[in-house]
Amino acid sequence: MQGPLIDTLARQGVTRRTFMKYCATLASMMALPPAAGRAMAEAMAAAPAAARRPSVIWLPFQECTGCTESITRSHSPSIEGLIFDAISLDYQETLMAAAGHQAEEALHTAMRENAGKYLLVIDGSIPLGLDGAYSCIAGKSNLEALKEAAQGAAAIVAMGSCAAFGGIPKANPNPTGAVSVSDIIKDKPIINIPGCPPIPVVMTGVLAHFLTFGSLPELDSKGRPKAFYGETIHDRCYRRPFYDQGKFAHTFDDEGARNGWCLFELGCKGPVTHNACATVKWNGGTSWPVESGHGCLGCSEPDFWDGGGFYKALSMPADPLKMGAAAAVVGAAAGVALSFANRGKKSAAKSAHETTTLADLEK
């Protein structure tokens, strides 16, 4: 790309006003001060003019490419253009033209030339079982590849629930011994962007933040950017008033469901799920799972796959009670046994009872 980004965008029909609006929206979405929007705009508009665009290396491990699919459906104003023009995406298996040795070369060149400066995006969990043999790229296990690439990274983005928390590969019984990025890398700043997949704008927002300020945004205790994961789905849900009124859909096709009542009874995990779906929505603000009539699965939380079933309300038992009947039998048996023991004691006391006469007392 030639010249500053803003000129290129202008040629593509993106006005300066739209671009500024995009930056301001991103900044406000990330709860940054108003001036941050301008700072972002300046940083990103100037980015291509700089000698070298920030290098981004995207490594896929045990994943399904859903995260990449999600990113490519980013709908904010010419977001793909912005991302691909503002950064240098040096390695991304799904999107890159190169393959085989060429791809490997691109990866190593990028790592060498940008040592200490590149942003490493990890997509997918890392298998530790069988010495990592479950997932290998170019003859290297994911574990080796991660350690190698992490060494020269400025920061690591764990993209999607698999990279952030282990995700579906880590679900019981975890046959591959899958772990998250933060389970392995301890000496680099890691930002978790969980979700199955994550919301596109969350990814672009974090990238924009990194490009602008050269640092990662404020994170919560699970390493997620607070701006997007600060509140629960339940607290931001447009169906929340129905929860408070006690109006629930009991099935997916009853009157409550048609009236758009709360999906808590149908297993919605919104109350314990931190994500921005309820406010940012999906597909350019078209809709989101709860709006389409299905409860939240809780995909941006650790171990969401093993949370006791997607269709069980949070207040219901996660597993069927297995010991209840046996306990009832044991309890009743103990009670009966004790009652016999008590009665035995009573009759023993009765038979041992000795009558005291006046004569006895005068002895």
Binding site: Y243, D244, E301, D306, M323, G324, A328, G331, A332, S339
Partner: protein
Amino acid sequence: MNDMQFLTWVRGTGLDIAVSIFVLGVLWRLFEIYSLGRKADLAAPRDTPGASGWHTIFRRSIPPQGMVKKSPVSYIGGYTFHIGLAIVVFLFAPHILLIKNLTGLSWPALPSQFIDLVTVVTMAAMVVVLADRINKPVKRYLSTFGDWFTWTLTFLPLLTGWLAVQHLLLPYTVMLALHILSVELLLIFLPFTKLFHAFTVFGSRWYLGKINGHKGVAV
């Protein structure tokens, strides 16, 4: 163990253990208590009209004349927190769902804001009752470890449930898990502490009423 694993454990294994101990304990204690029996009263019954047992069950829920004035905290506080507890436990939608899942029975819920209000009132009543127990020398003298312990067991589920709904102190997921855990503790200890009065109170009232009736005490 992260917060979701904690929550899933209290909803799964923890609940299984707690409900089992509860069921075991309740059946054990009921069999044991009701099989004790009493010596037959061989005295000729005095003719007292009315079903003395049933009458007593009802009458003992009404304060005797003058007692509310004499001991307002015990009566008003006691009523408030017992009724409040019943409302919060049995008329909050998520609780009804749990009961429905375990027993198949369900009924309409009250709006959650109303439950919220009742919870605050119930907790306030419990704190007042506790303060009274601490302040009144006689009550304090009569109190044993069991009294303080069961007060805590009853108060914790209310407090953690309310904190969870209000998003106070700890993240919702952790607080919800603590809430469920506190209820599980309550379930585990209920059969073996004074809290067992939930099961025996009406039985003993009936029994006492019946004896009194036999002796000719007016019902």
